[in-house]
Symmetry: C2
């Protein structure tokens, strides 16, 4: 274990803290935000006070060292450093449980909490060059695993058997297994969908559904056999270093794509077209909702409106920011107020459910640059034969 408390360069940390624009003393405790601001996860609190070096109030792990490190047993130990109490205290009110926030406010004698979640989410939405390099690494490693998927497939497999084989390969290649999410979304390592299961409504605002293998986790692969000639949509975990890329590719249980039904090929072509045209159009200053509207226009050209982002249940977006969490800002959605900025990293996932065929579509992760959106999920976009 590297015992230095801060695992990102000091200049990088200063840049990220500055981007938050905090105006009040703030305690950070959410794992994703701690990782963003220190490069590691610990139990405790990072205190950021404007104009002052950060303090790390750490419960666990033991043995961390560096300027600003103070070990505490409980939040009340922080309060002893502020005998006069604080007027206002910044807290991640979008993440932290009510009871935990109340305890922290009481411990620090704070009269009023200030919600810093929006400021942190806005900062995290615009990646630094160091963050982009980590995301690029994820894309390369995720693509390398996707390339091996046909070798993992055996005729007669179910969706969950293929998913488990991909999970195994991902883990052997260094995938962390978990990925972080904002809000109440539960999913294990991604989604493999084939056949009618793609149309089962899920509890979340997902592009695709799936009933899962248990009502305790009602999403994704259901144990359905991957039938001869059937297409399979694969959207698996790209988290290798704390950041993650999102990439979906189509596979077919056939030796070639030539025999695929024209409806399937049309939907795949539409998905690829949306990815490419949005990537060309997306640059700093462009409204997120304009990209959504462009996607809808293309869907209409392909006459696929009834199937876009689901069939029995529709998702209300075509892309989403991604970074430390799989769902960050900006969201490409009809009512989004976001405007694209250089350094946004966005997954575009135009997907369709065509009754009788299942889920069809691809997904790529892109970095917003002045010249358009640069793809960082380098796997070929074509439908890939599994046998």
């Amino acid at each position: 274990m590297n015992s230095a408390i801060c695992l990102i360069p000091a200049q990088e940390q200063a840049l990220r803290i500055e981007k938050l624009g905090l105006e009040v003393p703030t305690l950070i405790t959410d794992a994703a935000n701690l990782f963003y601001l220190t490069g590691r996860v610990f139990a405790g609190y990072l205190m950021i006070t404007p104009g002052v070096e950060p303090t790390y109030y750490i419960k666990r792990p033991l043995e961390l060292t560096g300027p600003g490190v103070e070990y505490i047993r409980k939040p009340e130990d922080i309060g002893q450093r502020f005998p006069g109490g604080l007027e206002r205290l910044g807290l991640e009110l979008g993440q932290i449980a009510w009871a935990d926030a109340e305890r922290l406010m009481k411990a620090l004698g704070a009269k009023e909490p200030v919600n810093v979640t929006p400021a942190i989410m806005n900062a995290r939405a615009v990646k630094t060059p160091l963050e982009i390099s980590l995301l690029e690494e994820d894309g390369i490693r995720q693509a390398a695993v996707y390339e091996r998927i046909p070798r993992l497939f055996r005729p007669g497999m179910t969706d969950i058997e293929l998913q488990a084989a991909i999970e195994y390969e991902l883990r052997l290649q260094g995938c962390l297994g978990i990925f972080r999410v904002n809000g109440p979304m539960e999913l294990h390592m991604g989604s493999v969908l084939t056949g009618e299961n793609a149309d089962a409504p899920s509890p979340y605002d997902f592009a695709m559904g799936g009933s899962g293998i248990s009502p305790a986790l009602p999403v994704g692969a259901s144990g359905e056999e991957i039938k001869p000639g059937a297409v399979v949509m694969i959207d698996m975990n790209g988290c290798f270093n704390g950041y993650l890329t999102d990439m979906t590719r189509m596979f077919v249980n056939a030796p070639a794509v030539a025999d695929l039904n024209p409806k399937v090929l049309n939907a795949w072509k539409c998905s690829q077209t949306i990815c490419r045209r949005l990537a060309e159009a997306g640059r700093p200053g462009v409204e997120a909702k304009a990209l959504y509207e462009l996607a809808v226009e293309i869907v209409e050209e392909f006459k696929l409106g009834a199937y876009f982002m689901g069939h029995r249940q529709h998702a209300g977006f075509v892309g989403h920011g991604i970074g430390i969490a799989v769902n960050e800002q900006p969201v490409l959605a009809p009512r989004s107020k976001s405007v694209l900025a250089e350094g946004n990293v966005i997954a575009i996932e135009p997907k369709f459910v065509i009754p009788g065929f299942g889920a069809i579509g691809i997904e790529n992760t892109y970095v917003v640059t002045p010249d358009g959106m640069r793809r960082i999920t380098p796997a070929p976009e074509e439908i890939i034969p599994l046998i």
Copy 2:
């Protein structure tokens, strides 16, 4: 997908709701609590009003049916049903984010939130016969996978390679992959520890540490080779149906246990002795802290105090409740105020880190009965040769 909103029998649901003892109208939204009270997970809210049939305010998935089902788009839609507003509103303040709680209170015109998290956790700590049968199923399925571990091992493997192979086997046998936790604890499918890595302090109050393969998830297997003659502690996911059992077993990279160092055998024997004597002593009315104290007494008999529940960093408990989440009530800890009740399900995990040898100890899950604690993790407790 079974579209009936409630997937547990009506009588079972009524029993669980009664156990909560709620005195105010309450909105339940945490996934684990929704699963407890309905047998499924959905996006939305279960409203429980004393003396009234439950109402389900559902955002997603579409197509759920049954008495009390009402679809909403946003929490404010619930408020329209309560034009006069509510004086007090029960919320899971131990789980729900501050901003979400505030929005719900505003939507329902509530003046004061009532924290129902303690009541729910107390209810969930005492399992019903139906819940116990699900936990028994988990134990049997988890033990069946553990039995196959020697067949998954290949000489030269690292800890993470063996863990990935066990994960794959678990998933093929129906393990859901995820397990739910209370509070901020992150871990992917469990822990495989060998050698010095067991002593790396973790960010959580875990019996064992491990530095992980990335500072983004600094816990568990680190990529360390499982050396010839070395012991391996395996503590992997037992979640097959939304409940989970917790079970740890010891393995050795040798053809037989006869050559194991006496220090290793002594620690393993101490762990087994603690499990057995606590299981005999644990019954309704016994204080949780008395069981912890009994464990410490046995540790002293074996002269293992310096290594109990860690070496560089110690965990402050010897057992924990388990059910829908891996960490429920009661906790067997020195300052616990819990008293055991019939139907508690508790994992006992006396573990040691012996410098030079690594992590040693076993763990079983037990049901508290009037005659003592009945083990439901049926794998043999002996150290198992891997080759």
